[in-house]
Amino acid sequence: MKDILAEINEAPTIQTNRLPVITWRWLKVNEFQLDDFTMEKVLPYNKGCFTAVPSGNIDVKAMAENIHYLEAENYFKNKGNIGVSDTFVKMVDTFYNTGAFIHVKDKIQDPVIISYKPDESNPMIMDKNFIVAEENSEVTVIIDYTSIDNTSALHNGLTKIYAKDGATINLIKLQDLNDTSINLDSNIAYIGENAKANYVSIEVGSDKSVVSYISNLEEEASESNLDSIYLVNGSRTLDMNYIMSHIGKKTLSRINAYGALMGKAKKTFKGTLDFKKGSTLSKASEEEYTILLDKTVKSQAIPLLLCQEDDVEGLHAASAGKIDEDQLFYIMSRGFSEKEAKKLIVESYFTPIIDKIPLSSMREEIQNIMNQRLMDV
């Protein structure tokens, strides 16, 4: 631990979320630089994390040293880059202070719900989550990171997903830490033959949020879908690094990211579709749309398309702009104020993704958070 802390505390800046293929340095998009970041030690998190555990052929336990699933552990050990940075991943992998181990053996109807809620006495979340789905099993896991007071929290999380042949893992994450917190979230998946990893990522909080999702589509017809919505206001920063790595044949992936920027918000979206040699007949698509709500926002998008295979189809589109004036005018003509109309339009981009959440209470919670954050539109 000393080594890791020294590495972090002695570096003037810490490089995170490196672009898989780097480009011009003056653009400052190759890495997200975490400046002035120091930490003394990993503080304990003394709260439980399970809000709901479904019945059925599924094991759900708090993460502990004696928990092993060697096949998956060996796989991730040899995988190289699996998150926001080697150092932060190593830190949580070794010195986690909470986390969940979920082992699914069947199709499980109800979701596993996990909540990490930092507060004054528990300001640090180092959650190591490990989801293993046996062949043809299915599970939905919801993880909620929400501040309940004004404590500046640090979240450094690692979620490993291991979906064996024919399995489906749905992972839904909500990040609404307060505006003085730091969020570092690494998610990595192994996806077997005909297996699926589907993510819904809702990013609305933290002063600095650095998020990484990596899907390794290893076998024939592996599939991964990532639906991401974000709202960045104030002087907050969001850096996303999404990588779909097509290794097996006939693999499928899709990234849809929609977001809105307000105030002095800064957002960087890095989305990579990577067709490795051998990924014949694979298909991938990526779409990113950012609504710019203030003239002081900064929006960067780097949609990479890497290809070493000829018989594949890849498509990416990124766009950005103001709210459509005609749409705005139309809604206002129906008796809404400009503010309300803008809110409605932004929400209309998010609703299809929010609707993918199977829990009505959580959908409402997200609507409320959005409403709050959109107050200064």
């Binding site: 011009w24 653009l27 003239k295 998008a301 990479l304 890849g314 498509l315 990416h316 702009g321």
Partner: protein
């Protein structure tokens, strides 16, 4: 699985480009890079003091900069082994009759004198480090248009050269810009006075004959208010077993309401490192149009940049890259929207085959003050086999909310449906595929002057067998 027959698309026929001449020179610098070599070269060229100093300063900058950590591997470029200056054994001529026979034959084979007679208003021809031929139609001279080699310009139009030289691309921009500042030689200077519309294109052709040498020509074009110009640049070299280096620099100044189209057909040999820097500063309501074809070289790093400095300035970029075996062509464009109501339109296509690597690398940056700016980017890549590689690395950076930006990129194979549709119309399978590949590059060929479009179509020879992709 049944093995699919792949369509084999022939390499560009390099025949005429690969004929090399015996190296004859009147002055050749030592290999390597020292202040002495540079002072000697500047003296040999009889340059004013400020230029000698500029070169020495650039050399210092060169030593202070590192190689880029991104992009293709260029560690093989070792300046200790590159001859930076070779003066061919002839002076600048204004008639092809005075150009030495072997050099003239080279340009004949490349079709330059013929194009000059038929389609151009002026021609410059550079052979190794110096321009050997320059001419311009009298009617343009009468209108005040200047088209000459840089060596002449630095003496006859010193004030203009001094005002603009390496102002768009300062030596500290990157290592090879600094190298260029230190050892540049040759290139063309064009000045189009206010309001003059040059209807027929001017063309400069750069030929590097000597093995192990570098070519560092400087092209400086100023198009004054309301004027217009189409400039064509061609480059080639014969194949050698040692590496050659091209680190040219193109600086374009497009003034208010002016239009400049800058077309390039680059066909360097496969031992060439093409590390060229091109940049345009575009004033109010002016337009820069880049048409760029990259076919040759071992490694290319080429990203023409448009700085839209004046309100309403426009940039268009149309590029095609064809990377075959042994080639890494890392190309694209950079656009900086630095004023309100500016617009850019980028259209890039690439084909890779036989282990070739084609990379689109680009950036569109919209600055804080560039409200009401618009940008559209479209990148399409075609992979002809799985030994090749194709990457798209675009960066979009927006700093205000009044923008309209769209970016789209596609990679894929030739659609079976399209082939089937054409076949249902009575077209043979082979012909259908040929049509589709030609259709893929058509948006580019239609931007080229006719004779180049024909050449490009000839370059992409199709030998069809089985299916594509």
């Amino acid at each position: 699985m049944e093995k699919k027959q792949k369509t084999y698309i022939e390499d560009i026929d390099r025949g005429i480009y690969d004929i090399k001449n015996e190296v004859r020179y009147s002055y050749k610098a030592e290999k390597g890079l020292t202040p002495e070599i540079i002072k000697e070269m500047s003296k040999e060229k009889n340059e004013p003091q400020w230029m000698t100093e500029f070169r020495l300063h650039s050399l210092e900058v060169y030593h202070s900069l590192d190689l880029p950590p991104w992009g293709p591997d260029i560690s093989e470029v070792d300046m200790e082994n590159i001859i930076t200056y070779i003066r061919p054994d002839t002076n600048l001529n204004t008639s092809w009759k005075d150009v030495p026979e072997d050099i003239k034959e080279t340009f004949d084979r490349l079709g330059i004198p013929k194009a000059e007679r038929e389609a151009l208003a002026g021609v410059g021809a550079q052979y190794d480090s110096e321009v050997v031929y320059h001419s311009i139609k009298q009617e343009l001279v009468d209108q005040g248009v200047i088209y000459t080699d840089m060596e002449t310009a630095i003496h006859e139009y010193e004030a203009i050269v001094k005002e603009y030289f390496m102002k768009a691309v300062p030596p500290k921009d990157h290592k090879f810009a600094a190298l260029h500042g230190a050892v540049w030689s040759g290139g063309s200077f064009v000045y189009v006075p206010q309001g003059i519309r040059v209807e027929i294109p001017l063309q400069s052709y750069f030929r590097l004959n000597a093995p192990g040498a570098g070519q560092f020509e400087h092209t400086l074009i100023v198009v004054e208010k309301g004027a217009s110009l189409h400039f064509i640049e061609g480059c080639s070299a014969p194949m050698h077993s040692v590496i050659n280096l091209h680190a040219g620099c193109v600086e374009l100044f497009v003034k208010e309401d002016a239009t400049l189209r800058y077309s390039t057909i680059e066909n360097w040999s496969r031992n060439m490192y093409n590390l060229n820097t091109k940049r345009a500063i575009v004033d109010k309501n002016a337009t820069i149009e880049w048409v760029s074809g990259s076919f040759g070289s071992k490694v290319s790093m080429l990203y023409p940049m448009s700085i839209l400095k004046g309100e309403g300035a426009r940039a268009e970029f149309t590029g095609i890259t064809f990377a075959a075996q042994g080639q890494t062509l890392d190309t694209g464009t950079k656009v900086i929207h630095a004023a309100p109501y500016t617009s850019s339109n980028i259209n890039s296509k690439s084909i890779s085959k036989g282990g070739g690597v084609a990379v689109y690398r680009g950036v569109v940056k919209i600055a804080e003050n560039a409200h009401h700016s618009k940008s559209t980017v479209t990148c399409e890549s075609l992979m002809l086999d799985n030994a090749s590689k194709s990457d798209t690395i675009p960066v979009i950076d927006i700093r205000n909310d009044e923008v309209d930006l769209g970016h789209e990129a596609k990679i894929g194979r030739i659609s079976e449906e399209a082939i089937f549709y054409l076949m249902s119309r009575g077209i043979s399978e082979e012909e259908a595929k040929a049509m589709i590949v030609r259709g893929f590059v058509e948006p580019i060929t239609k931007e080229l002057p006719l004779e180049y479009a024909v050449e490009l179509n000839n370059l992409i020879n199709l030998e069809l067998e089985g299916t594509i992709g």
